[in-house]
């Protein structure tokens, strides 16, 4: 990973996650994710233990997994799935710590992503009432005329908000909506999140 961010000190570990991935890590370090459109990046941060998690969530509901599960039960895609799991394991071994969790399914969807993120953080010893959340993304990149249905961005945001409410995690910062892409840097030592967009000032939330 090339460090082209001037505000990150030279030897800080940088973890970069792509669409549909998630990670949990301890300070020191910076987690970054680039090119967020209608996806939503959710950061969870334990303010006392200074452990943070980030998920780059693509869709509000885990529909795909259900369909896959059905087919798995029918024995159609078992072999293929085993293959996927294996490559995931391989990748994890290569990256070592902090590990990027199963890159295929879990972090695609808001419901399973938050579940997995919290589970992983609890394993690290996080105390749930200390956790705060920030949300970034959920834009609608193309302008639709006459289409009144809420886009994926909006559905992602409302889906995540509902789940966080259920888990009693407060959302203390957000940079959502609009029609521009975003990139995010998340400092694990302070929980600071900086959002940058093309042609706009950087914002700290």
């Amino acid at each position: 990973m090339v460090n082209n961010n001037k505000d990150i000190v030279a030897d800080t570990p940088i973890i970069s996650i792509c669409m549909g991935e998630g990670v949990v890590a301890r300070t020191p370090g910076v987690i970054i994710s680039e090119g967020i459109g209608s996806c939503v990046v959710l950061t969870l941060y334990d303010t006392i233990l200074r452990i943070g998690g980030m998920a780059h969530i693509m869709l509000p509901m885990n529909r795909r997994e259900r369909a896959e599960e059905r087919r798995m039960k029918a024995g159609v895609i078992e072999a293929k799935d085993e293959e996927r799991r294996k490559t995931a394991e391989d990748r994890r071994r290569k990256v070592q710590m902090p590990r990027i969790l199963d890159p295929y399914f879990v972090y695609h969807f808001a419901d399973t992503a938050i579940e997995e993120l919290l589970r992983e953080m609890l394993r690290e010893g996080v105390h749930t009432p200390d956790v705060v959340a920030k949300m970034i993304g959920g834009a609608s990149m193309f302008e639709y005329d006459g289409d009144k249905q809420p886009g994926i961005g909006e559905r992602n945001i409302s889906g995540i908000r509902d789940i966080l409410k259920k888990e009693r995690i407060p959302v203390i910062g957000k940079d959502i909506g609009g029609c521009h892409g975003r990139s995010v840097r998340f400092w694990l030592n302070s929980g600071r999140v900086v959002v940058s967009s093309i042609g706009m000032k950087e914002r700290e939330i």
Binding site: G35, H180, I198
Partner: protein
Amino acid sequence: MKKTGWFSEDEFDFVNEMMNIGAGNASAALEQMLAQPIELVLPAVHIVPPKEVVGILGRPDMLITCTKMGMIGDIRGSLYFVVGNKDRDRLIVLAEQSARLTAKEQIKPLSAIEEISNIVAGVYLSSIHDFCSLNIYHTVPVLAIDMLQSVLDESIAEASAEVEHLLFVENEFVIPETTEERIRVCLIIILSPKSVDAFVSVLKEAKIKYGMATDNE
């Protein structure tokens, strides 16, 4: 036999051939619009899982211009026309030159890109139409300029929940009179889940039909 997405190797070759013809027609159409001779570098056709598209196109934070079109008719889905911002600017300059505008009458530069995407998409769809006798039309393009992944993530998210693969055509053009540098434009075709089966079976039929013809030659 090696499989590429939905197709066997032979069938994939056929798809490739169909897209080559599409690319030929597209370059002819662009030649006319830009009033410049255009050399075509053969297109690369990929049938890939939705999540791999960004990796093939470039870095997720690369700046691109993208137009989105709906696909209606016998096959439904959506079409994306993607061009890097540097190539976009060169295309706009050429379009302005060919329109021979005076200083007073400026065109909105991005409308040229919409028009080019309109033409390219139309030409590709008509080559699918010619081979498979499917009626496909596309809707008016809408435009977005931003980071590659942020523009495409919505469609990738939707597609990855619904379909296993999508069709991705990478074209490179050289305009010999200006520079030797290549202009790269990409076309992404996402079929709706219901259309996938129809498209695949029609293509397989067409392959058999035309495959016989080429064997006799």
